[in-house]
């Protein structure tokens, strides 16, 4: 028995297995193929196959389903100057539309717009991709780039993430968010957040479209809150738009969602209790005290309300909120 060797073999087998389970890094692993997916390899391959082209800007058309829809004019001008002075650093990514040399832009619409606006540069470098796998590679690059940038339109970014997820799921055997998120280089939570934002009500999406909020977390919290109580959330969104929300909007949104959740619970409890108390009152065991007289009194700047029911009289101090509620909702005029 060569036990020492047997042990060494056994151990190496074990550690290899464990590592394999934990890693999903390349496209090939995700799709079970053999080719290594890497952008630089993609470019090299494109070059060797004559898929790296240079054409006038007029030969390219933006993709209507492209996630990015709004473009900042200042940034575009900046990019235009950059391309005019140092040239186009990265080729845009396109796919052929017809035989006349027209192409649809998959990635690089900003660069295309910059060149189109420029009078000095007319030619754009582009890579023609041949399959959805290539598109997925590019999408992954975009998502990771967006992750590092500020002020990316939250809706567009969510849309591109979900497009990436769909492509991944279409082609891969593993269809859970976790392995997809590993491949796209983002967290599984940001996938579910993106899903939430895209599925949110138009009122919430409009916040991103109108460039009021571009924070994915805030939009996600709002979409959750909206599901619980649409009216309250709409009122809150009005407040955001009119700048009436104090402090951090993300925190406030989170608070709103938590409050609505609590309210929901309370209502449930009250319902349960209510049904119990009615069953009790049927048996005639519990009776609500009847208030026979109400009187308001003031003590300095506090307003005191005293309720008399039968022989008992109870005093309460009114809070500011309670006073507001009474004056606004029940049209009482209270003066201390």
């Amino acid at each position: 028995m060569d036990l020492k060797n047997a042990l060494a073999n056994h151990k190496s087998k074990k550690t290899n297995q464990k590592q394999k389970e934990n890693r999903v890094e390349s496209v090939s692993e995700l799709f079970g193929g053999n080719d290594e997916g890497d952008l630089s390899i993609l470019l090299d391959e494109a070059k060797s196959q004559g898929r790296l082209i240079s054409l006038p800007a007029s030969k390219f058309k933006p993709d209507p389903s492209q996630p990015r829809k709004t473009f900042n004019a200042d940034a575009l001008e900046h990019l235009q100057i950059e391309i005019e002075t140092i040239g186009q650093l990265q080729p845009i990514v396109v796919r052929p539309v017809d035989n006349q040399g027209n192409h649809m832009i998959i990635a690089g619409e900003r660069r295309w717009r910059a060149v189109r606006a420029s009078k000095k540069v007319e030619i754009l470098d582009a890579v023609i991709v041949t399959s959805e796998l290539d598109e997925l590679l590019v999408l992954r690059m975009q998502i990771q780039e967006n992750d590092n940038r500020e002020n990316v339109n939250a809706l567009e970014s969510a849309a591109s993430i979900m497009r990436g997820v769909d492509l991944c799921k279409e082609h891969s055997k593993s269809t859970d968010d976790k392995s997809v998120s590993k491949y796209l280089g983002i967290s599984a939570t940001s996938i579910s957040k993106s899903r939430g934002i895209l599925g949110a009500s138009d009122v919430i999406k409009a916040l991103s479209e109108d460039n009021v909020i571009q924070d994915a977390d805030t939009l996600y919290e709002l979409s959750k809150a909206y599901k619980k109580d649409s009216a309250a959330t709409e009122a809150f969104i009005e407040d955001i738009r009119s700048n009436d929300v104090e402090g951090n909007v993300r925190k406030a949104s989170k608070r709103l969602d938590a409050e609505l959740k609590e309210k929901h619970h309370e209502e449930k409890n009250i319902k349960n209790k209510g049904s119990k108390s009615t069953s009790k009152s049927k048996k005639g065991t519990k009776k609500m005290p009847v208030v026979e007289d109400v009187c308001f009194d003031s003590d300095g700047d506090k307003i005191i309300i005293s309720l008399s029911a039968g022989k008992t009289v109870q005093d309460f101090v009114l809070s500011e909120t309670a006073i507001k509620r009474l004056t606004n909702k029940y049209c009482l005029k209270l003066e201390s």
């Binding site: 036990l3 042990l7 056994h10 074990k14």
Partner: protein
């Protein structure tokens, strides 16, 4: 792959070593290749086979030149090496089909080592199980690193118990630690059976009550075989023999044969 069973209970005295020794040798006599592992620093199982004169493969004794005193270190067949990284003990042949990896006091050191040694033990038992049909691990009477390691490397637990309050309590504690170890360390761990050992051959009321209680609690997890108390068992131990070799006609010898049959049936499933 051979089946690995730990004979294990935190309580001392219900007969872990006796069961390991007699069941192990009996199974080996059916033609199966058996490895006994002494996983208790007291080394009772090792002594039950070799007596006080341990072979050098288990413990090497050397005269230290300077002090003139003796120095003992673990030999190549010592279970100490099951816990050490990059080491592998050689099973020591007792009979044609029976091998042992013995224990000495050196094993006690492992109780203080880092958790890593538990995984070392697991890896090594997995390799050894490839060379044997049945592996029996004799555990120490405490729930520490050594017992945890044994649970982590076993397919089955055999839990011996006597019919008294404390032992039955011990069974419960053992099942608790086993379920923790199963959850965290080794999902394949299963209870092969609970064995009543040392029951009086006469009916004693309190023992009958305890037995009924066990039956009620654990049902068919209880081995049908019961080993009754006899001086023959302790005599056999004193002569470093199995009960069958010492007193072939005794009831206890027959009981161990019955236990062996039951073991083979239960572990084949």
């Amino acid at each position: 792959m051979g089946k690995v069973s730990s004979v294990s209970i935190q309580k001392g005295g219900p007969g872990k070593t006796t069961v390991c020794r007699n069941l192990g040798e009996e199974v080996s006599e059916t033609g199966r290749k058996v490895l006994l592992i002494d996983n208790d620093p007291q080394g009772n199982l090792t002594k039950a086979i070799f007596g006080d004169d341990l072979p050098e493969a288990i413990m090497k004794v050397s005269e230290a030149v300077t002090s003139g005193s003796q120095k003992a270190v673990p030999g190549v067949s010592n279970s100490y090496w099951l816990y050490e990284e990059n080491e592998m003990p050689e099973p020591f042949m007792v009979t044609e089909n029976l091998y042992i990896i013995g224990a000495t006091k050196h094993l006690a050191e492992m109780g203080t080592k880092a958790v890593d040694c538990v995984y070392e033990f697991q890896d090594k038992i997995e390799v050894l199980a490839g060379y044997f049909d049945d592996v029996f691990i004799d555990c120490p009477p405490s729930a520490g690193t050594l017992q945890t390691a044994a649970h982590g490397a076993s397919d089955y637990l055999i839990i011996p118990t006597e019919l008294n309050e404390d032992s039955i309590d011990g069974v419960k504690q053992q099942l608790d630690s086993a379920s923790v170890n199963k959850k965290r360390l080794n999902q394949k761990l299963d209870i092969l059976g609970i064995l009543v050992n040392g029951k009086d051959s006469h009916r004693i009321n309190i023992e009958e009550i305890h037995y009924d209680h066990l039956k009620e609690l654990y049902g068919n997890k209880l081995f049908d075989t019961v080993i009754t108390h006899s001086v023959k068992v302790s005599e056999a131990r004193s002569f470093n023999k199995t009960v069958k070799n010492h007193a072939p006609k005794s009831i206890q010898a027959q009981q161990f044969v019955a236990l062996t049959e039951e073991y083979l049936v239960r572990s084949e499933v």
